[in-house]
Amino acid sequence: MSEEKIEQDTGSEEPSPHRLIGTLAVAGLLSGIIIIAIYLVTFETIKENKARELRESVFRVLPDATKMQKLLLKEGKLVVSYKEEKGEEPIYAGYDDNDKFAGYAIPSDGPGFADTISVLYGYRPADRKVIGMWILASRETPGLGDKIYKDAAFVANFDDLAIDPPIVATKKGKSKPNEIDAITGATISSVAVAKIINKGNAYWVSKLPEPGNEPAYEVPAAHTASSRAVDTQAP
């Protein structure tokens, strides 16, 4: 009923196809302009948020680190990278205040109880140990599986953990340097985290340079707009 009224208002029986296309084009154009505008306005902040989140995660799994840089594997060698590259598989190197190497932060993921779990863990090649673990993303059961990051005691399992032989989650109380205590009621999630770290180790450890030959910390150049641009620790 009211539709008829609108038609009378516009004063036309059947609008021409040109008018229909024109209306949609104008609407699309305006919408596009607004979306580009909001994208430009928020772009830097969103990028900064993401970079900050990453930095915080890296420092969390590498307790001594206060600076970090991204490393990419190129022709079998780890090189420092500032740019976002398509399909990159980065790891991150952390350094302390004196630019001394503090460990690698290695992302890895694998199936959990519900959906994929993304893990970032700190690895120190000198003594072949995992020195920290943080869950980047997971959809584990609230109240049970989510203890893999909410339960401080479980996270502390990974503060000093040998990687040979591969990490094992046990329900009987850990007794060996490569064991972690599984969470009661969330065994599958606990085992998943251990497996994910083992997977990361299997891929990365052989590719890392000899201990002592880690890439040195490079003072961020002014032109780099990567995640390090907001790193304020540089001298």
């Binding site: 009211s2 539709e3 009224k5 609108i6 038609e7 208002d9 516009t10 609008p15 008018r19 229909l20 209306t23 949609l24 609407a27 699309g28 305006l30 919408s31 607004i34 979306i35 909001i38 994208y39 306005v41 928020t42 902040t45 969103i46 948020n49 993401k50 989140e53 059961t141 609230p142 109240g143 049970l144």
Partner: protein
Amino acid sequence: MAKEKLAYDEFMKGLWRENPVFVQVLGLCPLLAVTNSAVNGLAMGLASFFVLLGSSILVSLLKNYIPKQVRISCFIIIIATFVTVVDYSLAAAMPVIHKDLGAFIPLIVCNCLILGRMEAFASRNTLRMSVADAFGMGAGFLFALVALGAVREIFGVGELFGITLFGPNFEPWVIMILPPGGFITLGVMLLYFNWVEEKKNKIDKQLAAEDGVN
């Protein structure tokens, strides 16, 4: 003066009498998906509120320039634009909440409540009434989201807006923050609204009968 009353009426209609969730049972996908805490419900509610209000204003203003053959496409373009604005703004201003809500912010585009109000109301009414309607429906949706989120958070983790209610020994009702908890809570709330409605109808009938007698 009559107008004043009507606008208020449109507002109350959305907030309570024709509440989009509890009475019209619309927009359940975001409702069930994100309400595992009151804060998430609030954020989602505000985002939807903003989109609904903005789109209502635009659609109401432009209703005479949009040919009816392409109206749905135009509504969607308008809604999608507002949703994108909300999505980017949230990501910039509140990254934590943005991460929690995940894919459900972009999905506001296909919230049938919003498109429904455009088609059923904003495209046929004056700006003033459309704004009142958007305020009412938006507030009604917000109210439902927060109510559901609050109940689920209280039982599911023993907190409300992140404030611990029962002390450290609280036994969480895990199911409440899982999807089934959303369905159960919503079901109980719908039950309550229907019960109130039925009771009201009974009383109305009784009154009418008494009137008839007198």
